[in-house]
């Protein structure tokens, strides 16, 4: 099986409202930075392009078509799109390289979530006959999950506040973060309840932005002569949509994906977990069996800024950044989709 290298990663700042810019204007600067990082001109210089986005964030069909206008796709290119987080676009790109139809790929994800009411919009992801007509928003579902954890004594509100505090402090070193600061757990606990048992700080913010990555075969990465990290494993797994049939206090699919991806819990220097709610970081950490000395969400994670449809890819990019900077030797990145961690993807990265 061909080894895959990550050669470049860039993301925009997470901002609560990108203002006047449209999708293509949000994507172009990020793409131009990632091309520059790898030393190539545009999408003509990679073998495949795949993106992730969701029409409902901006409220118009075919949002992704605008993305093609950012690529320089003349002459035409090999290109595809998933209506999922761009972490799954990375997955599709890896298949393409492994089958020998490309030696490199550009992956990007983007989301402008500010135009709509994101938690309400996401209620329409639920079963259209039984659940969507109830308009249960994504925060309420997560609150239900947190309540289960608290009532079963699996976590305390203090544990959740610890997660938030660490995120805010870590995010002070992340130039792209939307929420950062020297926040103590007690400061979090002093906040009023928003959707019990969640405080606003337990919930990731709504963000606008994009991220982009370039991957290649190891041979191609060497040809480009840029520092790279190796994707030694990637896998994903979905669970039932029926929340009543899942143990919401655990994430079985994350554990399955990690196992299939070949994760060795004893050898994880850093883990970037896509946990849009503080309690979900605890669920994921436990499901993965991460050791105490594993650095968790040193970027601040998505509690510091959540680029819907790009956050999963960004988690992988954050681990890549730390490996190529020499900070760590190996790490894992996690991406999620669907209500209450329904669908999870785990990527294992190593120093080249």
């Amino acid at each position: 099986m061909k080894e895959i290298a990550i050669v470049g990663f860039q993301q925009s700042d997470s901002v609560s409202d990108a203002g006047a810019v449209n999708e293509v204007e949000m994507i172009m600067p990020v793409l131009s930075r990632v091309f520059q990082q790898v030393g190539i001109n545009n999408a003509q210089d990679v073998g495949f392009v795949c993106s992730g986005s969701c029409d409902y964030l901006q409220g118009a069909a075919f949002a992704f078509v605008a993305g093609v206008d950012a690529l320089g796709a003349v002459p035409p290119i090999k290109e595809s799109h998933v209506e999922m987080d761009a972490a799954w676009a990375l997955y599709e790109s890896i298949l393409k390289i492994r089958m020998g139809h490309a030696d490199s790929a550009l992956i990007y994800g983007f989301g402008k979530s500010s135009p709509g009411e994101l938690p309400i919009v996401m209620s329409q992801q639920l079963d259209p006959y039984y659940l969507a007509p109830l308009w249960v928003d994504s925060i309420s579902l997560a609150a239900l999950q947190a309540r289960l954890m608290l009532d079963q004594g699996l976590i305390t509100e203090g544990d959740m506040a610890e997660v938030v505090s660490r995120s805010r402090r870590n995010a002070m070193n992340n130039p792209h973060a939307q929420l950062a600061g020297d926040v103590a757990p007690d400061d979090v606990l002093a906040q009023e309840m928003y959707l019990s048992p969640l405080r606003k700080a337990d919930i990731c913010p709504v963000s606008d932005g994009a991220s982009a990555m370039i991957i290649a075969t190891v041979e191609k990465a060497k040809e480009w002569g840029m520092p790279y990290a190796i994707i030694s494993g990637i896998d994903h797994c979905i669970e039932t949509h029926n929340l009543g049939m899942r143990d919401l206090t655990d994430s079985v699919s994350t554990r399955t994906a990690a196992k299939r991806a070949g994760m060795d819990a004893g050898k994880v220097d850093v883990a970037e977990l896509y946990a849009p709610f503080s309690h979900q970081e605890i669920i994921l950490t436990r499901a993965l069996g991460l050791a105490d000395d594993t650095l968790i969400n040193p970027s601040g994670g998505v509690l510091a800024g959540n680029l819907m449809m790009a956050s999963g890819l960004s988690r992988i990019g954050e681990v890549f950044n730390r490996i190529v900077s020499g900070e760590v030797q190996c790490g894992i990145a996690h991406a999620t989709s669907g209500p209450c961690l329904q669908h999870n993807l785990v990527t294992v990265l190593e120093k080249a």
Binding site: V82, E83, Y91, I94, L95, M99, A132, D235, I238, S253
Partner: protein, 387 residues
């Protein structure tokens, strides 16, 4: 070099205006179960599911793969959701194939669907955005001027589109799954049908259908042991270009030409009309047959319409290169599934399993899909023989 892969199971629903008897989950499951039965397999034999459909706004369900995983037996497995506009059914088949061709999976299920009756596709497409003129009278309003430019360039007679409309409906009458069943259709009936977007008449446009299509794609080892004859994947290609750029040829887009050249090269095809036995090509408006005949290299530029008029693409007239024997998009159009139906029907032909619309002795067939402003392309070539 890609690992060998083959289609070992195909399942479709009946295509019709409204499938009120099933939910969205019931619709996709019906196609998937039919594919499993065709392959003599069970859910446990499937390693991953790859789902495709056109914009979520058609049914109003965001990222429906999260809801459909239960119906598709995917719990505990990988699920991928593809969306590349109208070409999505084809792209989804290609992404599914890449799961096997990469060597990462042994056997996967792929499903595409659209349940247009549960929403309003016309509304979803012309959802008025501020600041733009609201002139998008459906896809026909976009494609009619391009067709007009083709007619000008090629000097094709006015009734080429009428002929295609009749031919594909006669083909569709041989296919019990086809939405439109018009065995007695005539040129006169098409010509007298209501003009929608000049030069596109009502009977020269595709219907709006509910339906789903599924395929099971397996690796060489499992395909060799398949219960029915497999359709071997001989070439796969995708191309995209922007909707608009200065000098873009909208009539004969370069992305389509490049995509065809790529897939032919992989399959060893030098003369598509001669080397292929039949083709299933995405023709939602009748005039797109002559246009794609040229774009795909079956005829020189400006001469595609001659093949149509000679009957070369007609099964009923004994043509040498029948196109859309299943009735094509003009007979059934479950948008998200339409591309996959083309890919699946190409596979049915080389498996010798196409019933009354079988091209006798078909060994090599093309499946084609396009989408957006005729800017996204997906194609595959399937063969009866292992390469």
């Amino acid at each position: 070099m890609a690992n060998l892969a083959a289609v070992v199971g195909i399942g479709q629903t009946k295509y019709m205006t409204k499938r009120l008897d099933v939910s969205i989950a019931g619709l996709v499951r019906e196609a998937a179960v039919n594919a499993l039965q065709d392959a003599d397999l069970t859910w446990d034999d499937i390693d991953a599911v790859i789902l495709g459909k056109a914009p979520d706004m058609f049914e109003g369900v965001i990222m429906p793969e999260t809801y459909l995983t239960d119906a598709l037996g995917c719990n505990g497995k990988p699920m991928l959701r593809v969306h590349t506009a109208g070409s999505v059914g084809g792209s989804t088949a290609l992404v599914a194939a890449s799961h096997v061709q990469s060597g990462m999976f042994k056997r996967v299920l792929t499903v595409s669907f659209e349940k247009q009756s549960e929403s309003n596709a016309m509304w979803a497409l012309s959802n008025p955005q501020p600041f733009s003129t609201h002139l998008n009278a459906g896809a026909g309003g976009y494609f009619a001027p391009i067709i007009r430019e083709y007619m000008r360039r090629s000097n094709a007679p006015y009734d080429v589109g009428i002929k295609v409309a009749v031919k594909d409906r006669l083909h569709g009458a041989r296919n019990p799954l086809a939405h439109l069943q018009k065995p007695d259709i005539t040129m006169q009936e098409v010509e007298e049908s209501f003009m929608l977007w000049d030069p596109i008449r009502f009977l020269e446009a595709c219907p709006s259908s509910d339906g789903a299509c599924a395929m099971i794609i397996a690796n060489e080892e499992l395909a060799d042991k398949a219960s029915k004859k497999p359709a071997w994947i001989r070439g796969v290609a995708m191309r995209s270009e922007p909707t608009m750029y200065a000098g873009r040829d909208e009539v004969n887009p370069q992305a389509g030409r490049d995509c065809a050249a790529d897939v032919y090269k992989q399959a060893g095809i030098t003369n598509p009309r001669k080397d292929l036995d039949c083709a299933e090509v995405y023709v939602p408006f009748s005039w797109y047959e002559p246009m794609w005949l040229e774009n795909l290299g079956f005829a020189p530029e400006g001469e595609g319409w001659k093949l149509t008029m000679e009957g070369a693409t007609s099964l009923d007239e004994g043509g040498d290169i029948p196109w859309n024997c299943s009735g094509g998009v003009l007979s059934s159009n479950a948008i998200g599934a339409s591309g996959m139906i083309r890919f699946a029907e190409a596979a049915r032909q080389v498996r010798g399993d196409a019933g009354d619309h079988q091209v006798e002795g078909a060994k090599l067939a093309l499946g084609h899909a396009y989408g957006g402003g005729a800017q996204f392309y997906a194609m595959w070539v399937v063969g009866s023989e292992k390469p």
